[in-house]
Amino acid sequence: MPLPVGGGDAVTAVAFPGARRRTRGGRLLSAVMPGAPQLLVGRFGAGLTALLVWVGLLAVLVLRWDRVWAAVRVSSGASLDDRVALVTLVAGLAAAWVWSFRDAGKVQELRWVGVSQWVLAGRAFSRNRLAVLGAVGILILYLVALLAPFLSPYDPSALGDLLTERLVPPSTAHLLGTDHFARDVLSRVLYGARISLSIGFVAIGISVTIGTLLGAVAGFFGSWVDTVLMRIVDMVIAFPQLVLLITVIALFQPSIFLIIAVLGLTQWTGTTRLVRGEVLSLREREFIQAAGALGFSRARIIFFHLVPNVLGPVIVAATLGIGNTIVLEASLSFLGLGVQPPTPSWGTMVADGRSLMLQAWWLSTFPGLAIVFTVLAFNLVGDGLRDALDPRLRR
């Protein structure tokens, strides 16, 4: 990203952390309890995260041993979901342990003078408590999503006894109650995490890729290319998105892939404008002109020089975009256009449960809260990243 040169008396703005205490005996401790040595030296964010992941995953392993074992046995006919969960479990445990062990043994950098902007940004980010909270939240969400088969107490799509187990309020048997099909809401919320997170992630992946490419091309080539692309952007922006969505869904069978594709293909305009703006200003900067003078090909300049430098704002936009997309999917569900049942997406669950808000508040409240906190986490991280990546806003 474009970095300003610290101007004037930069004393107030630039950080020069002093030496950290060396962690003594850290390795030993970390081997038993990853995260603990970091906690001891006051690195609560990193320490707690590692500890949480370690303890949490161990708990899953112990408490849900039967499921885990079933996933391990080749002959058990475990599904792909189960295998993914198993890999996540093992990898998560390993990652927490290895990271903590290596980190604890490291002598901390004495000075951060001259470190890259990314490291500075990372430090700025890690000082933003809300943002760190969001990041930990996202980590937990992804773990929950991937481990859903081990965590969920019931099969999310298995119908219970329709006459006796329907719309049961939260209880010990069903922590978050049951829905109108007597399905366990907790299990559905857990599995729903995968759907909602994938929708957000993949759709934004698509839109950011398109947006960055088009924006870079428009900004770099300028003239008529820019004009044409920007007119297209104007058109897409002024085109009522919902009309397109409904028509596309009418045209094809509504499926999760269709939803993802449509959401991805309609949201790239923001990124395009953003990237174009950045590229327009970068284009005039010395290093790009130097690259041009050195005779690099245009593609090379775009991909190796321009794009990496606009990555910061794009990452911010993408993080915020994931949140927005999850909300958008929920909103589409309200119109009956979201992910279709029986797939348990949070949006569909909230939308389906809304008419029973008074009779069975748990139906829409829990998936609703899941959406709010997930989106909140992404937004906190996005906001934190923006503050962190923008040197002007750093502390």
Binding site: L163, H180, I246, Q253, G336, Q340, P341, S355, L356, L358
Partner: protein, 585 residues
């Protein structure tokens, strides 16, 4: 029983004597489309002001107040009966703004309404009906309703160019000008060929004002401002205002014939559109509306729990079903289709989904109907064992042990079950069928479709579907010819595409049997045949549930509809909004 019933013709009331109106230019057709509303409104206002004076209400114990009825959809077709195909709009035409010649009573017997009496030339073989109209019914602009209005209405609805949605009603009538004869100002005679329930169309067709609409090309009627911007009816309520997607407001018609009960009790009736059911319930609970039409069964406990609210239950004419596309090889065998019905626990679905507010259906004949055969009610119950036996008998056996049955060629017994977006009930049925039929070795793939797309696929030539969850609303005059008669197999509504000679014969005969008693055994045979053939798996007739605030008194809702006695609804004085608002000051 549906034969002529003479009625004593009452003398003209004061109202009738006092009014009458001409347009200055004398010609109704001269009213231009562009200025139509502006031209009509002053006449309505003037006439109503005069009537209000002449029929001022002194006793305000029952008269007064505003009743608010709300539902999720707008009456987009408005009060123009010629283009109306929507249930709510038709109801409001029949019972609120317009009048039909005759109406049904609670036991579905025709009763006089705009027509005070009628005669049939031959009760067992009717070829003409003579209607005698009331002489005290006025259009809201002061013009008297007479035989010419009836003749005009008849000519328009039987004119193919109108594209009258219920044109099929008149199949056995002689259409156009030859079919109807204006005997005198208050007598019309129509010609028909004898057929079953021949009076039924007259309960459904609302008479429209000739003096306002004659001369408008019939193909242009749909776009005429009459329907949605300034309808001028002759019914108990006078149109006041229509805000698209928001509300219809009607006020009491003081000139409504005393004989028919006179002016309605409530001063104003507002129909509100609130597209969200959760909001509707809140509106009802906070007394923002008085009647919530058709809440979800799951919302009913909240209505029952509230001290201020009542739940009105009535039988309905709509039913939910799964239509099997018998053109598909795996669904061609009636035994397979019957196995599907046997393998689905419909009673449980009624209990769970409708909370018991409904009855399991075995045919399209509603349980309240005289043609209904109660002995068949429980003849098909959930019986997975029998279902498995039938499937095996039909050659569908799980040959490869994957849990899904195959036929001798190895084709699996699998189909997709389409349902439209945004209908929770149908979605639920699809999912439950998937689960329950899965247990008897049938693979069901539920598939949601956008409504328009699905309809296009169901009725298109390709019939691009295996099975679908849909619903029908029957008329009081039952007629399944379009659904099951083999002559209609290429018509849009022949979803199942079954051919059965006995079915054809029964459907043909039933259309023409005039006497209900003679028809009953035939209907029984027909219902038994449906049980055997299973072109559809009939699910249930849900009850119509309506949440209503207790302050609205005297409400009757039954199979005929929700608005059937709206003119008799009343609100005690201290419960009226304006009174409460004034008291709050």
């Amino acid at each position: 029983m549906m034969t002529t019933r003479a009625r004593i013709v009452l003398g003209l009331t004061v109202v009738a004597a006092a009014c009458g109106r001409d347009y200055a230019d004398g010609g109704a057709a001269a009213v231009g489309v562009e200025t139509f509303c502006a031209d009509v409104a002053p006449h309505v206002d003037a006439f109503m002001a005069r009537m209000e004076q002449e029929h001022s209400v002194t006793d305000s114990a029952r008269y007064g107040g505003t009743v608010v009825v709300a539902s999720i959809g707008d009456m987009v077709d408005g009060m123009n009966h010629f283009v109306s195909s929507d249930y709510t709009a038709s109801q409001n035409q029949q019972f609120v703004n317009l009048m039909s010649l005759i109406r049904y009573d609670a036991s579905i017997q025709p009763q006089p309404y705009l027509a005070e009496s009628w005669e049939v030339d031959d009760p067992t073989h009717p070829s003409t009906i003579t209607f005698h109209l009331r002489r005290d019914v006025y259009w809201h602009d002061g013009v008297r309703t007479d035989a010419n209005d009836v003749a005009f209405t008849y000519r328009v609805v039987t004119d193919p160019e109108t594209a009258y949605p219920n044109a099929a009603f008149w199949d056995h009538y002689v259409g156009g000008a030859e079919g109807i004869e204006v005997v005198d100002s208050f007598t019309v005679r129509v010609r028909l060929s004898p057929h079953a329930e021949y009076l039924d169309p007259w309960t459904g067709v609302s008479i429209m004002p000739r003096h306002l609409l004659e001369g408008v090309p019939v193909s242009q009627l749909k776009q005429h401002p009459y329907g949605t911007q300034c309808p001028v009816g002759n019914g108990p309520f006078v149109f006041v205002e229509h805000r698209p997607q928001e509300s219809w407001t009607f006020k009491t018609n003081p000139a409504f014939p005393t004989d028919l009960g006179g002016r309605p009790y409530v001063d104003r009736y507002v129909y509100r559109v609130i597209p969200e059911q959760a909001t509707l319930l809140t509106d009802l609970l906070t007394e923002n509306i008085d009647v919530y039409l058709a809440p979800r069964a799951d919302q009913v406990p909240e209505i029952i729990r509230s001290e201020d609210l009542d739940l009105l239950r009535s039988v309905s004419r709509s039913y939910t079903l799964v239509a099997w596309n018998a053109r598909r090889p795996q669904l061609a065998d009636a035994r397979v289709r019957r196995a599907m019905t046997l393998g689905t626990n419909r009673h449980e679905i009624v209990e769970a989904q409708l909370r018991g507010y409904g009855v399991v259906a075995n045919s399209g004949v509603p349980p309240f109907h005289w043609a209904y055969d109660p002995t068949l009610a429980d003849s098909v119950r959930y019986d997975p064992a029998e279902a498995r036996r039938l499937l095996e008998e039909a050659g569908w056996i799980d040959r490869d042990g994957d849990g899904v049955r195959e036929n001798a060629e190895g084709a699996p017994l699998a189909f997709t079950l389409k349902y439209n977006q945004g209908n929770q009930y149908r979605q639920d049925i699809a999912e439950i069928m998937q689960a329950q039929l899965g247990q008897i070795g049938v693979k069901v793939q539920p598939q949601v479709m956008e409504f328009g797309t699905m309809i296009a696929q169901l009725s298109g030539e390709e019939r691009d579907f295996d099975a679908t969850v849909v619903g029908w609303v029957t008329e009081f005059k039952l007629d399944d010819v379009d659904l099951f008669h083999s002559s209609r197999i290429d018509q849009p509504y022949a979803f199942s595409g079954t051919r059965n000679a006995q079915m054809d014969r029964l459907l043909d005969t039933l259309q023409l049997v005039v006497d209900r008693q003679a028809a009953i055994p035939l209907w029984k045979e027909y219902q038994q045949l449906l049980l055997r053939e299973q072109p559809y798996t009939y699910f249930y007739f849900p009850e119509r549930l309506n949440g209503i605030n207790k302050r609205v008194r005297g409400v009757t809702m039954d199979a005929r509809g929700e608005w059937v006695n709206i003119k008799d609804w009343w609100i005690p004085r201290d419960k009226r909004r304006a009174v409460q608002r004034a008291a709050a000051r």
